[in-house]
Each structure stands twice: as structure tokens, then as C-alpha cells.
């Protein structure tokens, strides 16, 4: 059938649905649902890691192979440094920029190296907003509790407490840099309610929160004249005799040469894993989200946390084909948008946590209540026109200009027609285990942002990532900068790699891949 014909049921049932309230699942129901339908519980997609700091822990096949993978660096590679600095920041997203600005601000000679251009990252795409407890009826403790619930109680308490308490001062820092958060009429910060939160707590810049923050941070990195290495992909870390981190080797993607950077402290801010397309899922992530930081740290001996759990964002576009996997912001549901199956029914409280909502969408589709496209994809409707019906014409256009434009390019007006969505691989809930200074168990190796783990437990709450980036970007930058004055540059060796290779050999060199991946292999082999 024609898409418009299929959409009729959404229009027809709208008024009736508006009168409904759908209760959230009781804890046992919710657990049953997740265990049955969430991709994290598909046992066949998982296997134990064979060796290294997380030996025996299960993770998805795609990641396990990379973690056990070999380095592209030879044992006797030339390690003469091309650059020397106090603090080397790897990754030019939100966490990397925040780390570099703070390290530089505290007087450390800082280099920021990144795989693509500065700012080409997941961070620019964040639309939904940033959770900070600024509302009078809210508090850092409530923020803590909401996050714990979302994370299935497995969040690292110390990391989480630090994040929620640092939040308000981060908002102040960003405002001082000129970030234009939405305001209330009285000048106070406007807060929206996000999925899984008991209080309105999302700070937003229209639906361009990440873009606005990144425009400002990038501009500031350039204003501060922090040394930049762009199109430089980290492919190995360096260690001294004691196993502490002392620098990194990069591949210059313009000329394929190796670039060695010596540093007293290294901050990895390389982001997530969406481009590994775990379990075949499409993704909302940027081109370079290939989990490089996990592989690099793992070979250095850093322990990973919660790497068996990933976030599948409930609303990835399924139609049109060109937008597959791209995010339809959660903001639509925050503002009251319904999820509707092929029979015109709602089937979940749209503001439940992401794992619950995603699981229920998968359930609808697997039980035959989805809408299928001829290319073989399936999804459910997100009733976007409802927002105009509820809050007055023009609401969608006013509050979601980015979303409107994205679909308009393909001739779809989301304020008039619902969109077809299905979960998309969105976020790596776990990552390299860190302490409250953002440091790993490897001395002088810090990890900040999505690449780090522990804070979000088994499911990150919407809007907590942007805050995580800023808080731990800042902490890593300040801690590293505070340490370098009393340090000497350590030796540059590949001792850690030799150790790792010996272990890999003991286990039969099974992986067969070179890691990190750097970029996904999308180029078609043409004969």
C-alpha cells in the first residue's frame, strides 16, 4: 500500500489516543520484556573475550574480535617523537574539546589530535539536550536516583554523584563561553522532561544542543590556539617500562604516514561504537564511531566495564531509505508524541526508559503489528502531527527545526504525517573503567566521554551523555594538567604490545583482524 494510505490509521485514531494514559511497566513486567526482546539479551550475538583484562567477560562478537585484534604497528617500529607535549587529547568531540580547553587553561602544553576534522563526532548530533538539575523542584540527588533507575542500579555511585554535582557549574561554564541555552521568560534556564526522568531537567538549544555546544567549544579551541592534528587516527598507545602511558602513534589519513606524539598524560576521548553495526543494526552515530579507544586502552591493560550492554535508541528512521538509522529525536516523545502500531494502538508509555521503549517496539514488530517497507525493514509509527494537534499548529516546526528540515529534504512533512521508526544502535553504555578523575587503571591514561564506562550502568538516561562529556572532559584535563609540572616525559616503548601479543599467541591468534578499525569499510569493491 501507499505510505499515505497506511498512515491513515494514525490520523484516525489520534483523538481517541489523546484521552488514553498508558501506565509504565511494573518492574517484573519490564524485566521480562527486556529479557525477551532487547538485543542485549540475544545470547547468540555474544561470546566471552578470550584474554586480556576482561578475560571471560561476555561482549558482542563484533567488539570481541576487535579487542583481541592485532596492532598494525611492528614490534620494532621507529618511535622517535614528531611532537612532544604535556597533555595529548585524542578525539575532537565534546569530551575531547572540554579536556583540551581545561588542560590548556591550567597551563599544560596541549595537543588535540582527531581522526576527522575537529568536531566531526557524535557530539554535534545531540539534539535532545543535556540533563542538569537546575529547576527549583529538582536536586542533584533526584538526578542521581533517576539515573540509577535508568541504569538498572548498576551505575558506579562515585562517578554518578560527581557528575550530578558538577552539573550546574558546567552549565555556568558553557553559558560564559556563549552557549545559548533556551530560557524561560524570567531568564532562568528552560528545562524539559526527558524519558526516564522524574523532573524536567533537560537543558536545550532548540533541537541543536550538541551542535551549539560544539560550535562554541571548537571556536574556543581555535581561539586558545591549542595545537590541532586533524585527520590523525590514533592506532597505538605508548608505554614506559612500568606500563604507564607516555604517548600515542597516529596514522595521518592524508598520507598514511605514522606520527609519534610523546606526552606526559594521554586523554582518550574517542567516543562510541555505532559504526560496528552490532547485530546488524543501523546506527545514528558519526562516521568515526568505531570503538578505537576501547581497543587501544585494552591493549594497554585497561579494564573495561559494562561492555556487554548497548543502547538502541527507540526511534531511528526506517523511511525514507536515505535516512535509515538516523535519529528522530526523543524530544518528540518528551513533548507527547505517541508510538502507534499498525492497528492504530499505543503499546508503551512513550516516556519510559530507552531499553523498555525499544524492547516494546521490537515486540510489536516481531508479533506482526509492525509496518513493513518493501526493502525488508519494519517499524512502527511515531505520531509527530499529534504535537501540532496538542500544542497548536507550528509546534513541530518551531521546536524541531532540524528534524523538519531533515525530512523535508525528502519531501516529507513531519508536522502533517507520522514517521516510521525502529530502534537504531545509538550508544555504548559501558567503556573503559575510570575513577572520578577520569583516570583508568593504567597510570597517566585518562578516558573521557562515551569511551569511558561505569557511570551509566546498563542503560544511559537520555541527556546524561552531554553532561558526562563536559564533567569528565574537564576532570581529566584538570587532573592531567595538575600532574605534568612535576613529571618527566617517560620513555616511548611498545612493551605493552609485546605483552599483549604474547597473550594473543597463547590463545592461538584467533581474532584475525587488525584494530582499531579507524573507519568502517563502506566502499564497495568494484572490479
Amino acid at each position: 500500500m501507499d505510505i499515505h494510505a497506511l498512515q491513515q490509521i494514525v490520523h484516525k485514531t489520534r483523538d481517541a489516543r489523546r484521552k488514553q494514559t498508558i501506565p509504565k511497566f511494573a518492574p517484573t513486567e519490564r524485566d521480562q520484556l527486556i529479557h525477551k526482546y532487547h538485543p542485549d539479551f540475544r545470547a547468540s550475538a555474544y561470546r566471552p573475550i578470550k584474554f586480556g583484562p576482561n578475560e571471560g567477560d561476555k561482549t558482542v562478537m563484533e567488539l570481541a574480535a576487535l579487542l583481541e585484534g592485532d596492532s598494525s604497528i611492528q614490534d620494532h617500529a621507529d618511535l622517535t617523537a614528531h611532537y612532544t607535549c604535556d597533555v595529548l587529547v585524542i578525539g575532537g568531540g565534546g569530551a575531547g574539546c572540554a579536556a583540551a580547553l581545561h588542560a590548556h587553561g591550567a597551563g599544560a602544553k596541549t595537543i588535540l589530535a582527531t581522526k576527522l576534522r575537529l568536531g566531526d563526532s557524535n557530539s554535534v548530533m545531540a539534539q535532545g539536550g543535556m540533563q542538569i538539575s537546575v529547576a527549583p523542584e529538582d536536586s542533584p540527588v533526584t538526578h542521581f536516583i533517576d539515573t540509577l533507575k535508568g541504569g538498572h542500579m548498576e551505575n558506579d555511585h562515585a562517578l554518578l554523584k560527581t557528575m550530578v554535582e558538577d552539573g550546574p557549574s558546567i552549565a555556568k561554564w558553557l553559558l560564559e563561553l556563549g552557549v545559548l541555552f533556551d530560557r524561560q521568560a524570567d531568564g532562568n534556564l528552560h528545562v524539559k522532561k526527558g524519558g526516564g526522568s522524574s523532573k524536567p531537567r533537560l537543558l536545550t538549544c532548540s533541537d541543536y544542543t550538541g551542535l551549539e555546544i560544539m560550535r562554541v567549544l571548537k571556536d574556543e579551541v581555535i581561539n586558545q590556539k591549542i595545537q590541532l592534528l586533524e585527520f590523525a587516527a590514533a592506532i597505538e598507545l605508548l608505554s614506559d617500562e612500568a606500563g604507564n602511558c607516555t604517548g600515542a602513534i597516529f596514522k595521518d589519513l592524508d598520507n598514511q604516514r605514522h606520527v609519534v606524539v610523546a606526552a606526559k598524560c594521554v586523554i582518550l576521548a574517542t567516543g562510541g561504537i555505532g559504526r560496528l553495526h552490532i547485530q546488524g543494526f543501523p546506527t545514528s552515530n558519526h562516521y568515526g564511531a568505531t570503538g578505537d579507544g576501547l581497543c587501544l586502552s585494552y591493549r594497554m591493560g585497561a579494564k573495561l566495564a559494562h561492555i556487554d550492554t548497548f543502547q538502541y535508541h527507540p526511534s531511528g528512521a526506517v523511511y525514507p531509505e536515505q535516512l535509515i538509522g538516523q535519529l528522530v529525536t526523543e524530544g518528540i516523545r518528551s513533548e507527547g508524541g505517541h508510538l502507534v502500531n499498525a492497528t492504530g494502538e499505543r503499546f508503551v508509555n512513550e516516556l519510559d526508559t530507552r531499553d523498555v521503549v525499544s524492547s516494546s517496539i521490537i515486540r510489536e514488530c516481531e508479533e506482526g503489528r509492525g509496518i513493513r517497507t518493501m526493502s525488508g525493514r519494519v517499524g512502527v509509527w511515531l505520531d509527530t502531527p499529534l504535537l501540532d494537534a496538542e500544542h497548536g499548529p507550528g509546534t513541530v516546526e518551531k521546536h524541531f527545526p532540524a528534524m523538519m528540515l531533515q525530512f523535508e529534504r525528502f519531501g516529507i512533512d513531519i508536522s502533517k504525517d507520522p514517521v516510521l521508526i525502529y530502534p537504531t544502535l545509538h550508544y555504548q553504555n559501558g567503556g573503559v573503567k575510570i575513577d572520578t578523575n577520569s583516570e583508568t587503571n593504567v597510570k597517566n591514561l585518562f578516558v573521557a566521554g562515551e569511551a569511558s564506562g561505569g557511570l551509566h550502568g546498563r542503560n544511559r538516561l537520555m541527556g546524561n551523555s552531554l553532561l558526562d562529556l563536559m564533567v569528565y572532559g574537564k576532570r581529566s584535563g584538570l587532573t592531567a594538567a595538575g600532574r605534568v609540572a612535576s613529571m618527566k616525559q617517560g620513555q616511548l616503548t611498545l612493551k605493552h604490545l609485546q605483552r599483549f601479543r604474547a597473550e594473543a599467541k597463547k590463545h592461538g591468534n584467533v581474532s584475525g583482524v587488525i584494530s582499531p578499525m579507524i573507519l568502517p569499510a563502506y566502499t564497495r569493491k568494484v572490479n
Binding site: M1, S169, Y319, Q322, L405, R409, V526
Partner: protein, 236 residues
């Protein structure tokens, strides 16, 4: 997976696409109709490093010129957000060496006046409107430049919220203005110097510094796993 066939979208564009001929940087290639320009490059066997970033229409790395069949007009797009049609030709825009002024934002005394020191070319706009026509985000760039010059920083900051910094407005400017960089400065100045201070935020920061939540923290952090779970259940 029982699926009622009545619920299948079978419009032509989602069925097996037909092949079309397009030109990538002057080279003819056959690709499936309707895929994005970036995917067309991958399909044609090209490795793309420069020219791709977010793949989501937000980073501006994929700024591209294109022309449709038989139309003399060269237009602009974001290659990750543009579907290919038969006869289309396109070329990615190389990085353009625009000058970005550097400044210590917080130290500016008179940001509206400072604009003319940082970007002395800004008031030389000749109203040709080429920048507006070049903007893939449909921003009225020309209007923005004038508003900046006349000191209406607030409007500029609102107009350029959609700006992905693709830079396509810059090479076309006959007055050598980089409108997006001017707007970025103006927007930051608006945020840092001309926006109200949110009082509630300072109150919250002080509450935290003064330890107002310490008692509650003590209580929560001392709870056993079970107690904490029960407590969490009461917060709705």
C-alpha cells in the same frame, strides 16, 4: 513472523531501485537511484575520508555543489542528506581558506563595536544575496550579516542556530566575508554578554557548595542495595 500484507509500504522508491547515471567530480558512474550522494561515492568504489563526518546532516563536512540534468543552476547540498537523481553532477567543496578572527570572548569590553575590529569586512556587504542562495540550511545569511552589522545580535543568534558551519556561504562572497564565522562570533557574544544571568542556576551552585544536600547524600549512599531499590521506586 506473521505479517499482514496490508501493512506493507510498496511505493516505487522503496522497491528495488533503478540505476541512474550521475557524475562525481566529472566522472560518470552508475548508481542506484535515490541513495545519498555519500553512499553513491562508496557505491562507485571511492574511499571517502575528507568530506564525511557525522553522516547525519549536522557537521557540515560534506558540503557539495550539484547540478541537476539540463539545469544550468549550480546548487549546494549536504552530501549525506541528498538523494541522487539521474543526470545529476556533483563535486565536493574543498576546505576554503577563510580567515577566522581569534578573540578572548570574556574579555571583550564592547562586543558590538569589536565586531568591526575583528571582522572589518563585515560592513562591506554588497547585498548580492549569493550567501543566502548558497546556504543548504536555508538561513537568510545576507540578512544575518546586516543584522550583525546593525548590532541586532539577538536575531543573528536565533537565525544561525541551524548553521552547520559547512562554509558554503563563504567562497561565493564578493566582499570576502565569512558570514558563518561572523555569526558565530555574534552568537557567542550574545550568549556571553547580552543574555540574562539565570539566577536559579547560581542558587543551585551555591546550595551544592554549601553542602545543602549532604544529609540527603549520606542517607542515600549508606543504603543497602535493597533499601536503595525501594527508595528509587518511590521517586516518580
Amino acid at each position: 513472523m506473521a505479517q499482514d500484507d496490508a501493512n506493507v509500504i510498496d511505493q516505487p522508491e522503496v522497491m528495488t531501485p533503478r540505476m541512474v547515471t550521475i557524475e562525481i567530480a566529472g566522472k560518470k558512474v552508475d548508481v542506484p537511484e535515490g541513495i545519498t550522494v555519500v553512499k553513491a561515492m562508496w557505491y562507485a568504489g571511492m574511499d571517502v575520508v575528507r568530506g564525511v563526518g557525522c553522516l547525519g546532516g549536522f557537521c557540515g563536512a560534506c558540503a557539495t555543489y550539484y547540478r541537476t540534468k539540463d539545469d544550468p543552476k549550480v546548487r549546494t547540498c549536504l552530501a549525506c542528506q541528498m538523494a541522487v537523481q539521474d543526470g545529476m553532477s556533483f563535486t565536493m567543496m574543498p576546505p576554503f581558506p577563510a580567515r577566522k578572527a581569534t578573540y578572548e570572548l570574556q574579555k571583550l569590553q564592547d562586543p558590538k563595536q569589536d565586531l568591526f575590529n575583528l571582522y572589518p569586512e563585515a560592513p562591506l556587504c554588497r547585498n548580492c544575496n549569493a550567501c543566502t542562495e548558497a546556504c543548504p540550511q536555508k538561513i537568510d545569511v545576507r540578512e544575518g550579516v546586516w543584522k550583525a552589522v546593525f548590532g541586532d545580535f539577538k536575531s543573528v543568534s536565533e537565525m544561525f542556530m541551524d548553521c552547520v558551519m559547512c562554509g558554503m556561504c563563504t567562497p561565493v562572497c564578493i566582499a570576502d566575508i565569512a558570514p558563518n564565522l561572523v555569526a558565530l562570533y555574534v552568537s557567542r557574544a550574545q550568549g556571553a554578554h547580552f543574555s540574562e544571568k539565570p539566577v536559579g542556576l547560581d542558587v543551585r551552585i551555591k546550595e551544592i557548595q554549601d553542602g545543602q544536600y549532604n544529609e540527603e547524600w549520606d542517607k542515600v549512599l549508606k543504603m543497602s542495595e535493597k533499601q536503595l531499590a525501594e527508595h528509587c521506586a518511590t521517586v516518580k
